[in-house]
């Protein structure tokens, strides 16, 4: 049995393709059902960050997704890009889970896989709470680094150094492992999948499958334990703005002074 230095677990989620999501003209609601499902775009950045660590450190990269079996293609995409393995966490019991049980589930899976680093996107394009990565860290009592733009592994110190985007500048932080890292969107350019890996991922790869029971969280997931409750939804109508054409610069100046005085 060979052991690797680090195990890096990457959370990837399937979302409706934002380019194809239309707005139902009658109800004003997002019509998600008809849009094809794709990998949450920021998660590609998370995969790239993970693989870039593996480029320099002896590591194993494992993708995980919590979702229905229909979500398997995002794991295949992760394998195609270069992940060493992938886990599908799927169970009817998960239905109705909000960010609390979702992050609990992912936290348990990461623990189970022996994660040294968990990588995630900054947020999803469908629910966009950004709560899941910090939630994973909180459930496991691990360090967390959010809005990360660059990573620098320090295996000899068993630490990960990251550059974070903070208001007005950057911050370099070193965290002891295990750590949960949410990468800033657009900072990691995902590598193309090599041909033979892509063929393998799409045609022959089968992910590990875990249920709520496998993770020992059967009674801690689902709608009943989800604290979020939606109070109501409202469609905001665009406000009609007043417009006026003025002939000369003086007229314009006059109008501006009027508004300001």
């Amino acid at each position: 049995m060979t052991t690797v230095t680090w195990t890096i677990v990457v959370g990837v989620k399937q979302v409706p393709d934002a380019d194809e999501v239309g707005i139902d003209p009658d109800t004003g609601r997002l019509d998600r059902a008809s849009a094809p499902a794709v990998m949450n775009p920021p998660d590609r950045g998370a995969l790239e960050a993970a693989l870039s660590i593996k480029d320099v450190v002896d590591a194993r990269v494992v993708a995980m997704t919590m979702g229905p079996p229909m979500a398997t293609p995002v794991l295949e995409e992760a394998i195609a890009m270069g992940c060493d393995d992938a886990v599908l966490i799927t169970d009817r019991a998960f239905a109705g889970s909000d960010t609390w049980p979702t992050s609990l589930t992912l936290a348990r899976a990461a623990e189970q896989l022996g994660a040294d680093i968990v990588l995630a996107g900054e947020e999803t394009t469908d629910s966009s709470t950004g709560q899941v990565p910090p939630g994973i860290a909180a459930h496991n009592g691990w360090a967390q680094l959010t809005y990360v733009e660059a990573v620098e592994p320090r295996p000899e110190e068993n630490r990960l150094v990251a550059t974070r985007d903070v208001e007005g500048g950057h911050e370099r932080v070193a965290a002891d492992l295990p750590v949960v890292v949410a990468v800033a969107y657009g900072e990691f350019d995902p590598r193309p999948a090599p041909l033979h890996r892509k063929l393998y991922a799409e045609n022959d790869f089968e992910p590990i499958e875990w249920t709520a029971e496998d993770l020992d969280i059967k009674d801690e997931v689902g709608l009943d334990v989800s604290p979020t409750s939606v109070g109501g939804m409202e469609t905001v109508q665009p406000v009609e703005r007043k417009g006026e054409v003025v002939e000369t610069a003086d007229d314009l100046a006059e109008q501006i002074t009027e508004v300001y005085s």
Binding site: M1, T2, L113, P192, P194, L195, L199, D204, I208, E209
Partner: protein
């Protein structure tokens, strides 16, 4: 899988890590054949190979088959129908009327053909389709039969060994893959085949440029059925020639009705596009604004604009179809009939894909890959309607080219003027009108002798 108990995750990863396929997958010579391009020719080849028990790999550069395919609209289905069940195919409308129309700069003279038979199954095997939908569906049929499809992968070259083709290079990392046979179905702009010297680069005279728009009629659900006089799934294909269709260029315009949109386009010689300074956009706009065309399209909005080349060299410029380890099919092999009366490539693409795959399957049974072993493809195509049609009309292109002024500019005006004369409403007797009409045509054709000569020159059209 509930046999993994808590705490087993790491062990499980260790166990699975031993899998060589997972660590460094290698598909060299795992597939029986590689098909370059999931267009009509490519999917027909892949489907046929799969049905013969072989495992082809179908490589497509688009995000899905059809994503990048431009096409005016009428799909001819006699061969596809033999290969698969068309019932679930995304067809738009069947062609119930063909109309041929000569346009001068402001006249139209047209004939319309509407056989009752076209309203009945199999509808003369002519249907409008949107290639984005149809090609995706057709490739799916190949996959269901056992083909493997890989998308977002562009083939950049071929691997040669001892002179024969043994695989392809793609734009992906670790992008080479080998297989005993390669089917080149990359369409008219065949960079891979040309790069590998399997065919010569087409000269400008032998290429047409086609531009097409798909138009919708916002807030007017009845526009298509009313303007084109349609009932149910019936549709039309309108063909236009003459100055009003493509200006001074050699070619024509078309309108095809889809379910909720129309496809409008022009196709004309690339040589003209270059030397007559006619840009595709200008030419299409001119056609769309012709007084006989504009009312059909009033209030329409463009939802898609696409441009593409059409090979039209005919039988003479057809490249060698078979090579050691490779075959050329569809537009890559120049198999398009584009002569003004017919614009057909879809049926030829499918027919050629089918025959090529059939030859490969037969050669594979004997374990042979040489051009010689694949030559039954070339023979079968030679004996099929594909090459016979190309040969039959080969002369027409040249002939029309010689007479282009007469046919595309003088004659459309003369016919329109003759019509105007013949039906003129004034106080002169009808005999005078008929004489004036005849006179107008004769002037243009050069009298009885001219007319006879012209008839002789084109007699093969109806033979």
């Amino acid at each position: 899988m509930t046999d993994q108990t808590t705490g087993m995750g790491q062990t499980l990863l260790e166990e699975r890590a031993g899998d060589a396929a997972l660590e460094s997958p290698n598909y060299d010579n795992e597939f029986d054949a590689i098909v370059v391009g999931a267009g009509l020719a490519g999917s027909a080849a892949a489907l046929t190979l799969a049905k013969r028990g072989l495992e082809p790999l179908l490589v497509e550069r688009g995000t899905y088959p059809g994503a990048k395919n431009v096409f005016g609209g009428v799909l001819y289905t006699p061969t596809i129908r033999e290969l698969t069940d068309l019932d679930s195919a995304p067809l738009e409308r069947y062609i119930a009327e063909k109309r041929f129309s000569m346009l001068s700069h402001d006249d139209e003279t047209a004939i319309s053909i509407k056989p009752g038979e076209w309203n009945r199954e199999p509808h003369n095997d002519s249907f409008t389709v949107l290639r984005g939908d149809f090609d995706e569906w057709f490739a799916e049929q190949a996959v269901e039969a056992g083909a493997t499809l890989v998308t977002e992968t562009t083939v950049t070259g071929l691997i040669r060994e001892n002179g024969g083709i043994v695989g392809i290079e793609t734009d992906r990392p670790d992008g080479e893959i080998r297989a005993p046979y390669v089917v080149l179905a990359e369409g008219g702009n065949s960079l891979v085949s040309e790069g590998a010297n399997l065919k010569a680069t087409e000269s400008r005279e032998n290429i047409a440029v086609g531009v097409k728009e798909v138009l919708e009629f916002p807030e007017n659900d009845e526009a298509i059925q009313d303007r084109f006089r349609l009932v149910g799934d019936a549709g039309v294909s309108y063909h236009y020639f003459g100055e009003g269709a493509v200006g001074e260029a050699y070619g024509g315009g078309f309108i095809y009705t889809n379910s909720d949109t129309v496809s409008v386009g022009v196709a004309y010689s690339l040589e003209d596009a270059a030397t007559k300074h006619q840009t595709p956009e200008e030419t299409l706009n001119l056609f769309k604004s012709h007084p006989a065309v504009a009312p059909l399209l009033r209030g329409a909005r463009t939802v898609e604009y696409t441009a593409k080349t059409i090979p039209e060299g005919g039988a003479e410029t057809m490249p060698d179809l078979v090579h050691d380890g490779a075959v050329l099919v569809g537009d890559t092999a120049g198999l398009v009939l584009n002569n003004g009366v017919h614009l057909e490539g879809t049926n030829m693409a499918v027919e050629s894909g089918y025959h090529a795959a059939d030859a490969i399957a037969t050669a594979a049974e004997r374990g042979l890959t040489s051009a010689d072993a694949l030559s039954s493809y070339a023979d079968a195509l030679e004996n099929s309607f594909v090459v016979q049609n190309l040969e039959r009309y080969g002369w027409l292109t040249d002939r029309v080219e010689e007479d282009r002024d007469l046919l595309f500019e003088q004659l459309p005006s003369a016919v329109a003027d003759a019509g105007t004369e013949y039906f003129r409403m004034d106080r002169a007797p009808k005999e005078a009108h008929a004489r004036a009409a005849k006179q107008r045509i004769f002037e243009t054709l050069g009298g009885w002798t001219g007319a006879m000569k012209l008839a002789m020159r084109y007699r093969k059209l109806v033979r």
